[in-house]
Amino acid sequence: MTLKQIVEALLLASPEPLELRQLVSLLEEEGPSREELETILQELASDYRGRVLELIRVAGGWRFQLRREMAPWVGRLFPEKVGRYSRALLETLAIIAYRQPVTRGDIEAIRGVAVSSHIMRTLQDREWVKIVGHKEVPGRPALYATTENFLNDFNLQSLSQLPPVSVEEDEKTEEQRETEAVRATA
């Protein structure tokens, strides 16, 4: 193996750029001088010029890089993964949408667990939720409501277009029970 081939192999295999001094220490046994290595690096860079791979000098040292022109094809190897929102986020947004304006305390009362600040931040970053005021109770907690952007993103013209959510079973039963009680006495 020539020293040039060895340097080429090290640069091709390294996941990080290699600085001249790193090459010197990796090749301690072979003992090339800095000048020798410098010459080899310049030679390699010119050998590869115009090819699919190029040897370039970056802040961290020397690095083989795929030519930028290849990006449109190379990008296809890494299709974007679209994440999913957590159930917690979905429920928090739903409560704000259906019960607005609400405080964090209101949301926690329904969900039974603390609302994470991360979720509130995500919803605000996404511009689906904003603070519309403060409740006049001790601590003056912020009141959250949905935004116009929320309506746009969900293809709604107004909040009234949100799908109706049926009243819970047991509440219905209670009302029915009352009505029945009245009928019984009548």
Binding site: Q65, L66, A71, G75, E80, V82, R87, F154, P163, V165
Partner: protein
């Protein structure tokens, strides 16, 4: 080990016994057994191959002798052996005893040679040992060859944010409400508001012939349910002819009085 055996020659004179103060810690011997051999099959194979013997041709009796010697040496030194070694010792002892027992000529045909199974296992193990070193000899990624790892220099792309549909939102809300019902603790039973009871209470208030303003019969602290019950009670009382509703003119306040 017999006492007559010469272990070493010290200053020209033969040494036949281990000196009292020369002590090999049992731990060291155990390490040899555990680090050198992969188990009883490996040890057995070693004992056979040490003499360059073919597995088929080997005298089971001879190998058994050596194996059992080895094990009893370990036991003598109070070395705790892995159970597998003892299991093999038992198997070998059994084979040995069966070979020693005289067998009636008639049975000989049916009964399998007790060595056959052991020989089959030894051969399979040896094959796999060879396979293991053949595998280790293959060029391996990360040891003998490495992937190229160039920088891809991809331009940053705008992040794709997850989408939600209105239906998912509604489903999430329904789920949250359902769960809220389940997890809500109900220490306070809702005040029982029965219509009959309310009828009596209203009559009681009107008992002295007073005329009471309609709205004064309602108590706001009872909430919606209270209002409904009171209203139902009034309707019942009217229907039963127990109270009268008075109104001086259209849109004038309603007043209630007992009949």
């Amino acid at each position: 080990m017999t006492a007559a055996e010469v272990i070493a020659t010290v200053h020209g004179s033969p040494l036949t016994d281990l000196p009292e103060n020369l002590y090999i810690p049992p731990e060291a011997l155990r390490v040899i057994l555990e680090e050198t051999f992969e188990g009883p099959m490996d040890l057995l194979l070693y004992l056979i191959r040490r003499r360059n013997l073919d597995i088929m041709a080997v005298s089971i009796a001879q190998v058994t002798e050596q194996y059992l010697d080895y094990i009893s040496l370990m036991e003598g030194m109070k070395i705790e052996l892995a159970a597998e070694y003892l299991l093999m010792a038992a198997l070998l002892a059994e084979i040995k005893s069966r070979l020693l027992l005289p067998r009636p000529a008639s049975c000989e045909a049916e009964e399998e040679d007790p060595r056959a199974e052991l020989v089959r296992r030894l051969k399979e193990y040896e094959k796999m040992k060879r396979a293991a070193s053949a595998l280790d000899g293959l060029p391996r990624m990360g040891r003998d060859s490495f992937p190229a790892c160039p920088d891809l220099d991809l331009p940053p792309r705008p992040k794709v944010l997850p989408q939600i549909t209105v239906e998912e939102l509604a489903a999430a809300f329904r789920k949250a409400l359902t769960r809220a019902e389940r997890i809500k603790s109900h220490p306070v039973a809702r005040e029982a508001l029965s219509v009959r009871e309310r009828m009596s209470r209203i009559l009681d208030r009107l008992g002295e012939g007073d005329v009471v303003a309609f709205e004064n019969l309602f108590e706001l602290r009872e909430g919606r349910a209270g209002v409904v019950v009171t209203f139902l009670a009034l309707l019942e009382l009217c229907k039963e002819g127990l109270v009268e509703v008075l109104q001086a003119g259209p849109l004038m306040p309603l007043r209630i009085q007992a009949r």
